[in-house]
């Protein structure tokens, strides 16, 4: 802050109905201005002021950004690669978190801070680090650690060489010391294993901090960490979440004309699925989010308020902004807070205050929402990584495809989730480690490129036992070492899928499906990839409209045991994907009134702590929307109005209803 205004800030927070703040996660140089000189007074003052105002505090361990003195005294702490590039100070999140020097300093500071605040009743919890990832560190200790990890996993260099097919280009190793560094590695097995090692390092670091904080802290204090967005390549959020009391995530999303709740839903369905329970939003958009001045898109009137309810409807039990007040300088000058740089009340503060005051009244009806979904997406970080190393689209300029679009594992997952979101179908995520999918009626498996036999068997068994699967191309293709299976694709899935294939092709240009079976009109096109599926038991659902590719089906469906497996051998247009999923959902009886709503209306259901049903109806548009309400009789918690089935309702622009009805 450019000047002392703590009391004014606290008063404004209190007046706005804020009751929790997170502090301290970026402040190492304030706690410890020089090596071993600790200072708490500056934070004591802030915590005390909050406490007096009835505002609780979550304190962050400040380990994600090291002070300048540490970088100077221990330059080896800075993340570097093995190729001799020297890291430099300035950016945050630029260290080797395995460095003994770093660990020494981090532990000493954490022990001091937690001891100091463990008995402070205002401090209700701890956030471990901040948006932790691997920082692409490949410092010598990281590389040696990788060697030891491989030794444990493969036992002999010969076993590793065989698993990674290192006879290729004559690169197999017979002594661990000959393992090349990551920089120039081209082995697909090496690259994938390195991502797992990076994830293990992140998990290990966060578990170490969690254990340290728990050892020191009061048992009433919760421990969490904030994911910097989920589905990251080098963070295994499932494993990290295991050691936390509650998961937390920072969700930044589109605003203005791009505010539609879908990004929140994607990120939060994933976060909720980590521990099968509710979670915290530790950061979300206040005025704008920007590391330059080129992406300032402050929300339209109503969007800030609607956003809070959006998070709650997904299972959030807290919503925090970052930052409270816009910062006058540095990287996030334009990452604007609730307050503008002038630190006066403003449009955003007014809307946050309105929302806070509403929540003081109705919050107890909203918190602790329980959500039960019947559809899940299987998300595989290994597949995301391995496909990234061998992508199925390219932006390389080709004479025949200038300016080609890029598709990826992520774009496919987002397409599928977005289709379900638009269809108002609630979705969970499951993971390769999930031992049982039987609680779901429909399991969607996008491009499960990397999978071991056991996982594929679990999926096949799920179908055999009456489950329904929608699966896409590339699934079952490679094993855990990123080696393509040496049997006909899709390998262990062949019986469940009811087809096999030996060939595939990229599609230079989009193709149509023959006879437009899904009535998609201009959107009747498939792209990027086509597997040459040879049905064995499956029936063909759609064919390519092409003299060569036309002999193979683009989509098949197979009855297997008591269930079915629908397979997409190509990348569908968004509209085709929605049509295919809609057809499956209809067959499974998972559709109904929610699918009759106007396009801008999104609905979310759950059960609150009072045992009553909540039905959120959002209008994500700048125009009012009217429709015939088809849900049960209930009361709109925001207005107090009662609603009966089949009554006509109107939701204003960027507004919502929250119907509470008996269980």
């Amino acid at each position: 802050m450019p000047y002392d205004r703590l009391d004014r800030d606290v008063a404004m927070m209190k007046s706005a109905g804020l009751n929790v703040v997170r502090m301290g996660e970026s402040t190492w140089s304030l706690w410890e201005r020089e090596d071993g000189q600790f200072d708490y007074a500056w934070m004591d003052r802030a915590v005390d002021a909050m406490g007096k105002a009835g505002i609780k505090v979550i304190l962050g361990t400040p380990t994600y950004s090291i002070p300048a003195w540490m970088a100077r005294q221990h330059p080896e702490i800075l993340a570097s690669d093995q190729g001799g590039r020297i890291g430099s100070y300035g950016m945050r999140q630029n260290m080797d978190t395995d460095s003994p020097a770093y660990r020494y300093y981090a532990e000493r500071l954490i022990r001091h801070i937690v001891a100091h605040y463990k008995d402070n009743p205002t401090v209700i919890g701890w956030q471990i680090d901040n948006e932790t990832s691997s920082y692409n560190a490949d410092n010598p200790d990281v590389f040696i650690g990788f060697q030891h990890y491989l030794e444990k996993k493969f036992v002999t260099p010969e076993a590793l060489s065989k698993a990674w097919f290192l006879n290729y280009w004559g690169q197999n190793i017979h002594t661990w010391e000959d393992l090349p560094i990551r920089d120039g590695a081209q082995s697909t097995g090496y690259k994938l294993e390195w991502t797992r090692w990076s994830q293990l390092r992140v998990t290990g670091f966060l578990r170490w901090q969690t254990a340290l904080v728990r050892e020191m802290a009061s048992s009433r204090q919760l421990v969490t960490t904030d994911f910097g967005g989920v589905m990251r390549r080098d963070v295994n959020e499932e494993e990290v979440a295991d050691s936390l009391d509650i998961a937390a995530v920072n969700v930044y999303h589109g605003t203005q004309d791009h505010f539609d709740g879908s990004m929140q839903s994607l990120q939060e369905d994933f976060t909720r699925s980590l521990k099968h329970s509710n979670f915290l939003i530790t950061e979300t958009n206040a005025q704008s989010t920007d590391w330059s001045s080129a992406f300032q898109f402050p929300p339209y009137d109503g969007q800030l308020r609607e956003d809070v309810y959006t998070h709650l409807s997904n299972g959030a039990d807290m919503v925090e902004y970052w930052p409270w007040a816009s910062i006058a300088a540095n990287q996030e000058t334009y990452w604007k807070g609730v307050l503008s740089h002038d630190l006066e009340p403003n449009r955003a503060y007014a809307e946050v205050s309105r929302t806070g005051q509403e929540l003081q009244k109705i919050g107890q009806h909203l918190v602790g929402l329980r959500i039960h979904n019947q559809v899940a997406i299987l998300w595989s970080r290994d597949s995301a990584n391995a496909i990234g190393f061998m992508p199925f689209t390219s932006d390389a300029p080709q004479p025949w495809a200038p300016g080609k679009e890029i598709a990826s594992y992520d774009s496919l997952v987002e397409q599928i989730h977005h289709s379900l979101y638009e269809l108002n179908v609630g979705t969970d995520f499951v993971f390769p480690e999930s031992s049982d999918f039987s609680q779901y009626k429909l399991l969607i498996v996008p491009a499960l490129y990397i999978a071991n036999e056991a996982l594929l068997q679990r999926i096949a068994d799920f179908v055999k036992n009456g489950g329904h699967v929608v699966m896409t191309f590339k699934s079952g293709f490679a094993n855990d070492d990123s080696a393509v299976r040496w049997v006909r694709a899709p390998g262990p899935l062949r019986a469940a899928a009811g087809f096999s294939y030996q060939e595939f092709s990229n599609l230079e240009r989009p193709l149509s499906l023959k006879d437009d079976p899904f009535h998609a009109g201009d959107d009747n096109r498939v792209k990027y990839w086509a597997e040459f599926l040879i049905p064995e038991h499956a029936k063909a659902i759609a064919f390519y409209d092409h003299p060569f590719f036309g002999r193979w089906p683009a989509i098949t469906e197979n009855d297997y045991g008591a269930g079915t497996l629908l397979y997409e051998g190509t990348y569908l247009s968004d509209k085709l994907q929605t049509a295919v999923l809609r057809g499956t959902l209809d067959k499974l009886g998972l559709t109904g009134d929610d699918q009759q709503l106007p396009a801008s209306v999104h609905v979310q259901h759950g059960v609150n702590r009072l045992g009553k049903q909540l039905h959120y109806y959002f209008n994500y548009s700048g125009a009012p929307v009217a429709f015939t309400y088809a849900g049960p009789e209930g009361k709109d918690l925001l207005t107090g109005e009662r609603l009966t089935p089949h009554s006509r309702v109107t939701i204003k622009s960027w507004d919502l209803m929250i119907l509470e009805s008996p269980q």
Copy 2:
């Protein structure tokens, strides 16, 4: 030269009417072939030949390109960054000009050369170095110098930490040794201060050379340096010019269909404003300018000649080409001179000769032109730099804005200057250090992002005292340390501007102004940026046509004291900018006959040494242009024809008239 042809070259120069040459600025290895072995004979011979032909010489100190032996003996001279990257020899302008070794060699050579030629009557002056800039050097001595500079400026590390808001990410320092190197710095204060340090280094180096040459040279010899284009980020041309006898600039501009005089005007209005006096053109386009073979655009017939008069009309007192003869090899093989590679007379030589012969007749009427303008643009290097670190447009591919245009501080300044140029309104530049703007009727202030209180007060006072200001978005936003002011924008300008604002937004797509108030048709659009201006005393001139943005004015005008301040809260299209400026000029009575001329005709006015008025009328087009002459009675110096007011005149393609009329 591939063979000895000195006499032939000198004869051709003389025949073409050339009377000054610049030599020697790239020739260190000829003066000093090995460490301490000096040779003057090669240059003596050239200077003597020139002298005999009556051609005067400006000698360049050859310090901008070091010889190979020096790079090998002292590799530490090569510019490097702090991250361990090693500079390599080959390019020119690649050294740390603060390196003691470099300074030692440079001083020794300069002392030798100047002593040798100080009494040579042919040598009329010295050019210090060549197109000097900072070369992005961050060698250890440069960085240590920066630390010492900061110590002097901020006194304590704590004061620096506070000014730069280094609590952010916990990066404040308590000892100067902890200052991080430039490489990874993200602090906006650090980045801006580094640019000032780079400028100081350039200024210091050139002042050192200037003093050294003056110490050795004859007092009849002038001292200058040639800017490699002005408005550079790391050269403070205002301060450098202070120590010179006369400013000089190398102006390269569009040719063929892009030859319109505007780039010359922009660069030369700026250069003329440095010392409020005339200047030299040390280099300009001969045949083509190119470091490859892909941008060869030799001028159309007439353009070379018209260009000379263009420079003179802007206040140049000399026009030199670079080079005389096209070079057979190396980086500038295709940076073609007056002569082609065949070294014979050619089309360019013929046109240069025609012009040279004309100037021998009428040059005394043209030289020493005095220009008096009533409009000035305030140019802020700090703002250019700081906006560059936090740009308001991006070429990052965004789903909603592929292939976005790029705008910047420069594009805004160029737009404004170009509008005035097209309106035939002469323009000066003023600088943040300018203590008084009162000689101008209209001051234009583009995006004055960085400004201290005193400067903002001077602008406000200028308005209060009857001045008129046109100002754009982002002005007054941040202080000298690039920290956003912690009061309502536009800070100290609030009273003069008559509005305040707390919010702003980028514009994802261009917006129209409501009701097309400037009749701009398809060009009625504003882009990139919109401040949410809340008028307090100002009146709204134009609004956005948009449901959300429409509540805030895009342009305001405020009466303040005896003057007015017009403010553009957004980036106008070129046509809108011209319309807004035209409206203001009309009100101020600064328009008249010059604004009635055909589009291809540009006019420039001044007073020559004989005390007579000169009126240049240029036809910048490939077709003849006819119009009714509205100026005073006078004589066309080129043809000798007399012209009376209201007579019909025709100017041929790429041709001009120079009317001389009594004062």
Copy 3:
């Protein structure tokens, strides 16, 4: 291979009619698992199995990919630049092939392997290394070698400084030690000479290996190496081929809708011209070629078979695929072999088998084809390199030319060759070293930017003696040191060309030729470059349609002695190039029935070992094509049908006829 299936693979090969395999070129770590520990058993087993099946073996020396232990023991072997960048292990072809350590290991291994197999009757030959190039190595020994090479060539540093015009920027040297490293060099002479040095290094390395293998091997064993595509910048294929028994080339080409035989023709016309004799195809497309998963384009039915005959029709005496079986992992997971990853028979295997079985029947009629062409293209590696350093188009974004196309020496050569290919005119290549062009009626000389006087004289003499030349812009422009000649362009060609020029311009936008002299309609446009040709004896064939450029001809033709020289002063559109060449060919009587064939039909002629004429007629399209056969009476070797002149024939999609007729 993921499991042992040698016998199965050999049986499948034999059944498919394969009779030669290449093995071992990527397997150093299998031969020598640790320093000095040699193992042959694994290869003995494979060679024995092949021998038993009657399949011959070409063994590759495995030197293009070093084992991991060698990189660890001798990191100095890894290719690096002089700027301190450290090479890292992982990629193949990443070493300094001049490193003494590398040479020591390579020699030891080669001696062991060749000794082991020299008497093995199954092993019929040796492939030296694989797709060798310079790997951009600039290790210290490479740079010192360059210094010594320059000493030999220029004798004194002063001579080098003069030849390279190093007075420019004051960079001349007076002692060899001052020679700067390659990294920062901007001298055009330096850059070009470095490419020659790189080529010499490649030639030297391959000659060394060839001599070594010949010393050890049996005289019945052939020695070759496989070019990784020809016309490379840093490989002088002409010189390398000199030391080989037979040339070999890896040709990868477009498939699916891009399969038209033209890339095969370009690469193989060049390869055939190296030794004026037939050659081997050591690798070509099987299923797909891809270092990612984004460029999978398996051939349509028929293309694999048609491709084999395409190679044979160009003079190949062997066609091999790489690889036999798709590899389960690593960089070339998707560089698919004849077998898919499942290693079962598949569509590709079936087509290869059909072709193999055909060749068992008719191969003796096809092998040893002699081809006699009357048109040659002069290909200059120096010109390709030197133009690359000073390109005549740029992709730099320019305000007036966003997204400009890129043209180059290569694109020009490809355009010319493609025009001839489309015209069914067989083409050879000749080289700057070729001492006599008199066997050709028409010599085409694209952009011969670098040429010494002797070469230009040979071309002029060729014309004087009755030869015909089509030549393009930039020819004769610079000397062997990449210095522009200091006489009027085109220098020594002036008399033969019948014009001179002093000026040239890039073309900002394409221009039309006045009055569309070649009836090219929308394709009547020329681009990029225009020389201002001043005819002296030549006649103008076409002019630019432009007020400025229009005074100079775009194309001229000159009678000189008994021949003619047609000159293109600009870059023609593809259609214009074809029209210009067609006109010349017509005049020379080089056209006839072959130019009347449908567009998709390509024809190739030659004489087989039986002394009979062969006429290949290819249908490169997915539709059948019918036409009236105009060749001599003959028998289709594939069907056994006899064909008489003027009979109507139909060739099926992606199919061909091979007519054999008496000499």
